[in-house]
Amino acid sequence: MFAALKTAIAKLLEFGKEIRADKLAPVAAEATTIWNTLRQDSNVQLGAIKLAGTGTTRRVDLDVEVDGVPGAALSVMSQGELHSLALALFLPRATMPESPFRFLVIDDPVQSMDPAKVYGLAQVLAQVAKHRQVIVFTHDDRLPAAVRHLQLDARILAVSRLARSQVTLSSDRDGDPGQRYLSDALAITHDENMARTVQATIVCNLIRDALEYACHERIRIRGFRAGTSITDTEAAISEAEGLRSTLALALLGDRKRVRELNGELSKLGPTAARVVSAANNGSHGGAASDLAVLIEDARRLAGKLSRP
């Protein structure tokens, strides 16, 4: 009788382990993918991740290899690598569907990271930001620089702390991704070496990106105010392909109502329709000085679009 009970307990523990391993499997797989993006060929390789221990003494076992030799890699990893590893384990767990939180707050993930890894980090965070709101605090200028270089849709705000911890938030024009696209476009118009046709193509592409971003913001803010689920809002955004459909969704609440778009655009200013048609055609006949005017008009339109 006692022996049977013992066997039963042993079996139960075994099943428990299996269930835990099954539950962990997707998290572990994602952690390995994130680690591979973050490490940028560091000498440390992450193998299997297992939950071990029983009762109150539980732990995570990490199989880590340094240059292909298994060992206690945690003791030889740099501070930056440890941060990356912690992040690789944290992100998939924090973004599990069961989590009630749809946002992440990460404090200074760039700290002690090698220069090359910052681009990997920006890429990983941009991926997570497709489904969650991601708020990152950092005092390191490399992450905002990576955001600008890779043209990621992240808003950059400056936080300053006055006496008695009075916190102020400020954003210059280039803190907003939509406005950043337009600043890049303006820089292109100042390049005298570039052929006019090439300039026009690039500027129109950047204006299109800026307008699409402003539309997405408008759609999200309106959805949020109306209590629409984030999943539905994001699904509607990805269904609207192309600038005109996205504008129809942003202004008329339906991506299919593109025919009524011009009427709606005229309410946003006399030049709105012209900006949209230039951005959409990817070309703009006229002198280089006109491109600068077009960008200014686009800036006004993007500003109006992003405030529903």
Binding site: D41, D114, A116, R142, H149, D184, D191, M194
Partner: protein, 129 residues
């Protein structure tokens, strides 16, 4: 020097740096790899939009999405900005590691292959027309 030769030289620095280079092979390698990227891109622009060869790299990288797909653009931007950061000496930062340099080197090889493939097909299209 062609981009291929520059990449070969960078690879040599990576695998067996000469004695005279033992203190600066990392930054030397980053510099040669970035030069290969810039020259390869220049060759691509010569085929598709020659005026871009005279533009600053920032503008060339901004122009890329109008000509190639998003992943090629991403590859070029991460490699160029990463290498630029790595080749400048900052006392508060470690020199790039062997693994990082090898990874950028692989990225630039892949990027130049892709750009060559695209400029070849652009040239073929032009011939057909």
């Amino acid at each position: 020097m062609t981009p291929e030769l520059l990449l070969d030289e960078a690879a040599t620095l990576l695998s067996r740096p000469s004695r005279s280079m033992r203190r600066c092979w990392q930054r030397g390698c980053a510099c040669l790899t970035r030069l290969a990227l810039e020259q390869g891109l220049c060759g691509y622009w010569n085929c598709v939009a020659p005026t871009l060869t005279r533009c600053p790299m920032r503008h060339q990288l901004l122009a890329l999405p109008a000509f190639v797909d998003a992943s090629t653009t991403f590859l070029a931007r991460t490699a160029w900005h990463g290498l630029s950061r790595a080749m400048h000496h900052h006392v508060y930062e470690l020199a790039p590691t062997h693994a990082e340099l090898r990874s950028w080197h692989c990225d630039v090889v892949a990027l130049l292959d892709e750009l060559r493939r695209q400029s070849d097909s652009a040239a073929q299209e032009a011939e057909c027309c």
